[in-house]
Subunit: 265 residues, 2 copies
DNA sequence: GCATCGATGTTCGACAGCGAACAGACCACG
DNA sequence: CGTGGTCTGTTCGCTGTCGAACATCGATGC
């Protein structure tokens, strides 16, 4: 059933979910809808089932820039869980589809009444912060082509569909580049038979090929929208040794050096 | 007293602060210390008094990039408040100075025991998310010079000092550019008598001049570390007709258009 | 004072992305 | 069935940043 397609909700004990469900209204989000505008009041939250919402920030005099992507793994409206009723970003429906909506009041009440909800939302907030940080670096360092590939794959994962409506113009707003830059990159992919597109429709043909063209960010934070780091009371340092990503091609671990000469005066 | 220099703590009722203070240990953070490494366990939290910690993300094969800056307005270790005991970013001490430290266990206990603490931390998490998003756009769109000016001003505000130790090399890691790019921009500022520097020391001479050279991001999310910034996207020159926000220099409000043609299939 | 190392200055070619303008292709609608 | 508007292709010069290499200058320790 569609209601359970949202991973965040699905992670709750069934009893709690049923409890919560009374306040949930199935809706269909439509491409182009703006759910939140920066600094405007948040009136309801959304749990995407098979749709996709972009979080955008806008720098004055420039393009918009996507800083986060919310699909069935998360929810729209996390600031409410932090006690703030506005959003720092614009939330734009980017792939239409079914979602579950809940009013602000009901959501706040549910946070108090249903003990398993808050931890789930918090874990998602944590994951979202990581995603935003990762996206920031990606947007700074990687070329349009790699970012486009990453974006297409992430969208595909969240929409569970290999085809979606999306113009180059629109994409340029997500990636923070010119429309021409998107067209260039897309044309390249089409020539390699990785994708095909026409007038606002894009279809992914060769998923693995696209993955090869995408930057590593996709492998790190893109796929597997469902997984969220678990908190172990004991602390879990042993588990993950690496992830300390190499810093740059030329050794620059100097940044960690103890710097006897650079102690603050 | 130095302990109260942290705005987050100072926002608590005095009684709660005194209660909390028993678990706080005054420490001096030293330039270059790494408090957290991505995906490693968080063992304690820090409340900066007059020091500065950078949150860095690392894209593989590239430079580091600062995505957030924490001074006396915030704390280090917010994931704990979300029930997660690891950090998605590296936390690097960037301006040494006094801070208050608290063990993970005590902090978690305090969150339960002191009712005013959680809302304060949550409000800060919200502000931090806004800052990260804003920084992402800034890093994407603005030239090195403007970002350098912004960075210097933000650092000055948080360190409450017009002079600090900082090499161009180090700065390049914060801004995500080459060292030479920083040197260029800095040389320009020095020639204009906005700053002066030598061998790892930078002094701000003309604060207002720097502000003029900085991107608007500084005015929107940079200064006034004490108050939770009501973050506004880019310009907000008064009458931005609400939901329409200008998207780029050339009219592009088409992004919101009702899209009868672009409804998902 | 001298050696050494770290910090900064300078230069080179290369290139990704920008801003602007225009042309062609395709679709929806009248 | 044509027409208008949208989407995509293509071009131009320009600028900011990159990568690499090397030169100099100043502080620090011997």
């Amino acid at each position: 059933m569609a209601a359970l397609q949202n991973f965040l909700l699905r992670s709750l004990p069934r009893k709690d979910y049923l409890n919560l469900a009374r306040g949930l209204t199935p809706v269909t989000l439509v491409f182009g809808d703006v759910l939140y505008e920066p600094d405007r009041a948040i009136r309801e939250v959304y749990f995407p089932s098979a749709c996709l919402v972009s979080l955008l920030t806008i720098a004055e005099g420039h393009r918009a820039l996507e800083v986060g992507m919310v699909g069935p793994e998360g929810m729209i409206g996390v600031p409410l869980a932090l006690g703030v009723a506005e959003s720092p970003v614009r939330a734009l429906v980017q792939g239409g589809g079914p979602a579950l909506r809940m009013s602000k009041a009901r959501f706040l009440a549910a946070l108090r009444a249903i003990p398993s909800l808050q931890p789930a939302v918090f874990a998602y907030i944590y994951a979202l912060m990581g995603q935003i940080a990762q996206t920031a670096a990606c947007n700074r360092f990687h070329v349009v082509e790699a970012r486009l590939a990453r974006w297409l794959l992430m969208t595909r994962d969240r929409m569970s569909a290999g085809e979606f409506r999306m113009t180059h113009e629109f994409l340029s707003h997500m990636l923070g580049v010119r429309r021409e830059g998107v067209s260039d990159a897309a044309a390249g992919f089409q020539q390699q038979h990785l994708i095909e597109y026409s007038r606002g429709k894009i279809r992914i043909l060769d998923h693995r090929g696209l993955e090869a063209a995408a930057c590593a960010c996709y492998r790190h934070s893109g796929k597997q929208p469902g997984h969220i780091p678990r908190w172990r009371p004991g602390g879990n340092q042993a588990a993950v040794p690496p992830t300390t990503c190499k810093v740059s091609t030329r050794g620059r671990s100097d940044i960690r050096r103890s710097n006897s000469t650079l102690t603050t005066p």
